[in-house]
Symmetry: C2
Subunit: 92 residues, 2 copies
Amino acid sequence: MEALTLSNTQKHRTTVDIYGQQFVIMGTESPSHIRLVASLVDDKMREISSKNPMLDVNKLAVLTAVNAVNDYIKIKDQLERLQAELQKEKDN
Amino acid sequence: MEALTLSNTQKHRTTVDIYGQQFVIMGTESPSHIRLVASLVDDKMREISSKNPMLDVNKLAVLTAVNAVNDYIKIKDQLERLQAELQKEKDN
């Protein structure tokens, strides 16, 4: 997908608060979707921070991205297995 | 899943470089998996940075997490639709 980017010059901007910082996020997604994503990132940052209280905010954000990409890869594997299974069902 | 955390006290540590910063990541995943995830995060940070050259590294990391969680939610929706479809195929 096209990457969401920070912008204050394009339409369809959504302002969100993540870990005490304001972000203006632009993308094709609806503002309610962007707010959902932002709140999940905020939750994940707080969860990781509680386990690593000494972490500076920059490392915390990178580690949050690492966790999210890890979750993404796992679910992508699951999706590919399911697609193969569905194909097998259809072939029967 | 259990969150990956930064640690230098637990076994199964993997040292990775993300956007010029070193991270020691611990988790149940294999070092090769962790290195794959780290390289994807590094790629995504560089992609977003190229589109937003004025972004400070902290905002860049948060925005990378936002993108990763966005991708995760989209693929999760896709997985759920496929699971429903597979169930329908099995019921026929």
